[in-house]
Subunit: 324 residues, 2 copies
């Protein structure tokens, strides 16, 4: 069994690749829900849906999020009747939010609702929210404290970030199935997807039970570097990284994850960083990490799992002092 810790697009693509190289049912994806929000009265879970649509093969291939063949009549009508339109909800995507909102209001957990959707969409992976509780990323910026989607979508990540806060994370319970997956005897590796370290990965670790569960693992934790040649493939990770005082590079990522991960997969472009990263005390695997198509995802997935396997046999994580 493999556990993937994922945010949105990067996590979705790698999870899809892993789903293709291991037997059905052996993949568990634990997804960030700190960017969830209530919009137009609906429960919206952007990262969860991006991963779900991608695992189902329904995602919009060019933008990475949303559904292929989406239509936008709802937004046009919303504009006409004077409703809010800054967060764009497609007509197909809306079914997910309406049905999720209805089921949550009827007493289901977010994990239950997600499992039902996955069953309906024939997804063999176990897709789990990190928690069924409410956790919300707050962006402390030069423009004040902003709700995440306000910062991310409405303000297009313009305000300069000072720090981040994950409201509710400390007291949130981990999704029980996520904890069980991390403790499963059949678990072989934990893969940290090339997702934004600050707003996608950090909230997962901030849920105390998950942070502890991941730290107490008995299998390797390998990350795929989200920075390639000093840039993020997608999204504001590079801008945030700089604003938070990190060097925007593979080495910067390695420093950020030092003491947390056992190995880092970096792109060929950043091959020169391999040695300095190894000197930080982690293993490195250099390969092509751009997932431009399904074959690219499959290849990176196979390389990442192969890398994790070598770490497992070398067991370097056994010598690492525990980090909490």
């Amino acid at each position: 069994m493999i556990v993937v810790l994922a945010g949105g697009v990067g996590g979705a693509r790698l999870a899809r690749g892993i789903q293709r190289v291991i037997p059905a049912g052996e993949l568990t994806v634990i997804v960030n829900t700190a960017d969830d929000f209530e919009h137009l009265g609906l429960a919206v879970s952007p990262d969860l849906d991006t991963v779900m649509y991608t695992l189902a093969g329904l995602e919009n291939p060019s933008q990475g999020w949303g559904l292929a063949g989406e239509t936008w009549s709802f937004m046009a009508a919303m504009d006409k009747i004077g409703g809010e339109t800054w967060f764009r909800l497609g007509d197909r995507d809306l079914a997910t939010h309406v049905e999720r909102t209805r089921r949550l209001a009827a007493g289901s957990t977010l994990a239950d609702v997600t499992a039902r959707f996955c069953a309906a969409l024939n997804i063999s992976a176990h897709l789990l929210p990190m928690t069924n509780d409410r956790v919300r990323t707050l962006v402390h910026s030069d423009d004040g404290i902003l709700a995440f989607q306000d910062y991310f979508v409405r303000l297009q990540c313009e305000p300069r970030i000072r720090s981040l806060d994950f409201e509710g994370a400390v007291s949130a319970s981990a999704c029980p199935a996520a904890l069980a997956a991390l403790r499963a005897p059949s678990l072989e590796a934990i893969v940290l997807a090339p997702s934004n370290p600050f707003v996608s990965v950090a909230p997962i670790f901030a849920v105390a039970e998950l942070g502890i569960g991941i730290t107490r693992r008995t299998v390797p934790l390998v990350a795929v570097c989200p920075i390639i040649g000093g840039k993020a493939v997608k999204g504001p990770a590079a801008k945030m990284m700089a604003e938070l005082g990190h060097e925007v590079s593979a080495l910067g990522i390695a420093r950020h994850y030092r003491g947390i991960i056992d190995g880092l997969v970096i792109d060929n472009t950043d091959g020169d960083a391999a040695q300095p990263i190894r000197e930080l005390g982690m293993a490195v695997h250099v390969t092509d990490t751009i997932m431009s198509d399904d074959e690219g995802r499959r290849r990176l997935a196979a390389a990442t799992l192969g890398f994790a396997r070598t770490l497992r046999s070398n067991a370097p994580w056994r010598d690492r002092p525990p980090v909490v």
Copy 2:
């Protein structure tokens, strides 16, 4: 000023015609809300929306309800994720329900929400729900007691009706603006649209304040007959009428509205019924009542208002004993 009492399609079309023959702002339409329901967690008001879309000129011209150029991606996606699809909500139409639900949850009344939508859609008429309170039509049928939309849409009006009940009507307060319109010194006539007498018109009268307000009027109340040549132009009015023990004809409608209305507009097809109807103690106007296009609506509106004007000058309603 003119007040129209309306249900769905027939009421919408006549209201649209009247809007075109009187100055902007002089039309108030009081609409049945007893067929409102909560579906997929959304507040759906079918009659109110049919009238609103028609007054805005946005209605689907062939089916009479819903929006022109509607798309159905939401329903297709809902089907895919295993949600309910028996009540079809179009992508554009959905914006109305989502925004209404959000505003109601935030504390607005149904009348407030409707007024906002009308302003956004440049509707000059005052469109009012009969009440801001919850009233729900229950169909007592051979298959048991059914919620209205279950009967109407899901079961396609198949079960035989025994009686109808308007849950909440007795204790519901009338929409304040509706009461004010019925009492306005400038009011010239009340027009009862060719809507279903049992499930569209009866609930309006069942809201006690409205029933009394209409009865205490000092202007004529004229109805446009919803039955033409023994058939309903649209919907199950004829089937219901038969099941409830009425003769399915213009005369049957006149008997049903006897003591309630001052005059009835009937179709040329039913010209033979004019004399028997007059013998019931009401005035009759015979004309073409089919509203096949905008010109047909305008023509019927002008004829109906002209008919009401003759009644006003003759004032037969002044001699009629009050009916409560």
